[in-house]
Amino acid sequence: MITPGFLYITGAILLLLPVNDRIKYIISFLITAGALIVTFYLIPGYSFQLDFLKFTLVPVKVDNASKLTGLIFAVGGLAAVIYSIKLCSRFILSLIFVFIGSALTVVFSGDLFTLYVFWELMTISSSFIIIMASDVTKKTGYYYCLMQVAGGLSVLWGTFLQYSATGNLSLNAIEAGIPFFMLAVAIKLAFVGFHTWLPLAYSKAPFYVTVVLSIYTTKVGVYIMSILLSGINILAYAGLISALFGMVMALRQNHALKLLSYSIIIQVGYMIIGISIGTEKGIAGAIFHLVNHILYKTVLFMAVGVVIYTTGKDTLENLGIMGRKIPVTSIATLVAFLGIAGVPFFNGYMSKSLIKEAVQEPLLTWGLNLMSFGTSLIFLKFIYYAFFKNSNVNLTKKPAISMQLGLGFLTVLMLLIGIHPYLLENLMNTDLGIHYFDKKHMLSGIQPFLWSIPVFLLLKKYVVKNYVRLLYFDMYRKMAKILVTTGYQLSNYHDGKLHKYLLWATSTLIILLVLLMF
């Protein structure tokens, strides 16, 4: 049985062969489209077993949620690969295939071992994409890799604890080692306090890399959280705090990529809240939001990518190019904006309503409203720069056709989901019994957006302003410094004097004798 992840990894190996551009395009298109079709025809309930060492692994296990997530991953993969195919070298493309393939395998994995292996493979491939894609991202890649591996190792340790407590590796509810899984998911989700890698990596890496990374990295974390850690109510508040933090930070940014990066933290906050509620509606809402978020955030990243490609920079001023010269990108951006703001008849609305419906506590409801309001505000700023502010930036080159194709494909899907939200429910084979377009939901959906417009106009001079870059305190760099200093002192102690070696040897002998004799 061919799985989409396996297909992608095969594609990666094929791309390593020395082929010319034409064959590269053909291979990439066949693999990405093939993976989408294969994912579409996966039957929920299917699973596949494999004996490895003394474990029985389940590399593939399909259920409704994983099928929907896999489907959107495959869609994102198709769009992202089409978008970036002109821009990246064959080797980077091959790494991107490994990355997408392992993300898909993680989604369909049925045991903790497979989960860990491909989780780590995602880390490795994405780190190497970052390290090798550009000359200025070496340190970023280093930082990113260390953070992600720390997360991966917590999964591993959690897996060991779970395994030694229960004796199996099945991917159901976690009983032992919950804090470690939480830590891992927190790093993947760029939870406040663990978020440092995200803005750094997404703003430094070349834009086509960011497009690919933003589809999978945090979303895999969300999906895994929905399986392993759902229904821990306290996390909902944590998600809220994280989202509010992301909101404040996003408002301060002058660079489009950073703004979008922090906005990911807000959107992931929605999903955390949905998952932490733990009800059927909450989890479904979170998964739907994941789908919608992938669609509009990818479109936004792609649009910013087009701006970078055509003008060279990603400052908000340069977004002004959108109003005039690049029509496809502009339309896509507008659709994505209305989607992320949660306006009815656009795609973000349905999942936001669903999560709001699932939330019972008034505090969280208010939090959700505030988050929607903040998101609208942030993207009004984005739109303001793109369409309303006068700018005199000029095109240096035309956007490639392939970029517009990728962009357009996702935009059509967004419109489709926005107009017919039951599409996702059908794909997931559930009926949540919610009427998306009744008065109550419409009103509560549109309110934050409507509020944000007058607020934006009133507070324009505070929102549209070049803030100084904050040099924030990075705990991890401090910790690293302590480790390096310790190592430095230790290595100073090794000055190569033989009498020291002999002294150490003698004391070891004495300690050994004492320990063993008594």
Partner: protein, 488 residues
């Protein structure tokens, strides 16, 4: 079947003929050494195939008095390691070594003879003799380049190694005077009546002596010094075989002579695991500080040996399997890393980490292999190091050493910090014009072979594990071993 005996004789003979060939016909060196290595490979495979059930060979038909060779799965695993490493290193060295070529090959063959002897013998004194053969030729190889640093390293190596050998010999003599025999099986039987305190003292001498050769902290200091300026292909054998053969000897002495029950009672298992944890934490921190690539790899070796120690001292079946698998994997991974380093040195005399800047674009395949081997040694999936580390952690947790398991993961993170540093440097573009000597196929092929094993054993670990899984049977239950040795 006398193939086992030939495993010791063939390298000795080859070393002798290399010496003669230098006097009369200089040209046949390359065919001589490769030919001998190929025959050796054949013999090794022959012996490994007949390792289960274990076989005993009496050399010269002297019975238990004389020299006994025994091939059990544990020694077969080491023979497998020689089989994997030896031929590639020899092929590599033919091209790589430029000065003192004959001496290099003589000592390499002598060293291999010593190692083969160590893993085959069932006699405590022979173990010591073969250990000395391998460590002294190893010392000579360190000094081969005749540079200041090399000589200094050799001196330190000699002093420390002799200190270790002294204690091993002392312990061997004491054992002989206590039991009146040097055959491991007989000693083990006699040891049942020796008082606890005396046995502990003896054990601490053995442990101390061997650990100097293995290089756990703080007895590790000579290792980086010797690696720094020695011929790099030798480092492959040194970290892969010489250090490991000391591990073999230690484990054999502890598990066969003293027995697992005594190890447990005396607390040696706890000491071993704790010692391992301390060692790899310190070694990782030190490795991060190194600017010399060989020294970095040396500290990494110290750390990996510590993982092996943890695996072997956990004292369960799973632990022994995991430790042995990591021995094999480490030999392959570190071998690959050293060979790539050697090619960098050969092509542009790169010694320091900053010297290899930008080489990722000049040597795409070799750099890829370097990356694979580093990720494997860090312990990331899907490479072989991950599997053995997984097994070690699992075994450690199973037998109650939860802290060891946790710190192994911390150590994985620490080792990533410096390997990733090297990798990032490898892929950083540089403006500098580099004068590169193109490595020939005979340099690249062994490297690629070892590198591909890293991936193969990671994806299909059942290939080596089918041999390794039989090891614990004869170590955990020393009665089995004794019965075969005495009965054979």
């Amino acid at each position: 079947m006398e193939a086992a005996v030939w495993l010791i004789i063939l390298p000795l003979l080859t070393a002798f003929f290399i010496g003669i060939s230098k006097l009369y016909f200089k040209k046949i060196l390359a065919p001589l050494v490769t030919g001998s290595a190929i025959i050796y490979l054949y013999l090794l495979i022959l012996v490994i195939n007949h390792s289960y059930p274990p076989k005993v060979y009496n050399v010269g038909a002297w019975g238990l008095m004389g020299i006994n060779l025994m091939v059990d799965p544990f020694s077969a695993m080491f023979l497998l390691m020689i089989a994997i490493l030896f031929l590639p290193v020899i092929i590599f060295s033919v091209k790589y070594i430029k000065s003192h070529k004959h001496k290099y090959f003589i000592f390499t063959y002598l060293m291999t003879a010593g190692i083969a002897g160590m893993v085959l013998t069932a006699d405590l004194f022979n173990l010591y003799v073969f250990l000395e053969v391998s460590s002294l030729s190893s010392c000579a190889l360190v000094a081969l380049k005749n540079t200041n640093k090399g000589i200094e390293g050799t001196f330190k190596y000699l002093i420390m190694s002799t200190l270790g050998s002294f204690f091993i010999l002392l312990a061997t003599i004491l054992t002989y005077s206590l039991t009146g025999t040097l055959n491991m099986a007989e000693i083990s039987l006699e040891f049942k009546d020796i008082p606890f305190q005396i046995k502990s003292t003896l054990m601490s001498f053995f442990v101390f002596g061997y650990v100097i050769k293995i290089g756990l902290i703080p007895l590790h200091a000579w290792i980086p010094d010797t690696y720094e300026d020695s011929p790099i292909p030798y480092n492959v054998l040194s970290s892969g075989l010489v250090m490991k053969s000391a591990v073999y000897a230690l484990i054999k002495v502890l598990y066969i002579i003293f027995g697992i029950d005594f190890l447990d009672q005396s607390g040696m298992l706890h000491i071993g695991v704790f010692w391992g944890v301390i060692t790899f934490i310190v070694a990782h921190l030190l490795a991060y500080q190194q600017s010399n690539l060989s020294r970095l790899l040396a500290y990494s070796s110290v750390a990996q040996i510590a993982y092996i120690t943890i695996g072997l001292f956990v004292g369960t079946e799973g632990g022994l399997i995991a430790g042995n698998f990591h021995i094999l994997n480490h030999a392959i991974m570190k071998g690959t890393l050293f060979l790539v380093t050697a090619i960098f040195y050969y092509s542009l005399s790169a010694v320091k980490i900053e010297d290899i800047k930008g080489l990722g674009y000049k040597f795409p395949i070799l750099s890829f292999i370097f990356v694979v081997a580093s990720l494997a040694i860090v312990g990331l999936p899907p490479f072989n190091g991950f599997i053995s580390k997984w097994l070690i952690v699992e075994a450690a947790i199973e037998s109650g050493f939860v802290y060891a398991g946790f710190f192994i993961l911390v150590g994985t993170f620490l080792s990533l910090t410096y390997y990733l540093k090297v990798i990032v440097t490898l892929y950083t573009k540089t403006e500098k014009e580099l004068l590169i000597v193109k490595p020939t196929l005979s340099l690249r092929l062994p490297t690629i072979f070892l590198g591909s094993l890293c991936i193969l054993f990671g994806i299909v670990p059942s290939i080596p594990l089918s041999l390794i899984n039989k090891i614990p049977k004869f170590l955990l239950d020393n009665g089995e071993y004794i019965r075969i040795l005495l009965g054979g």
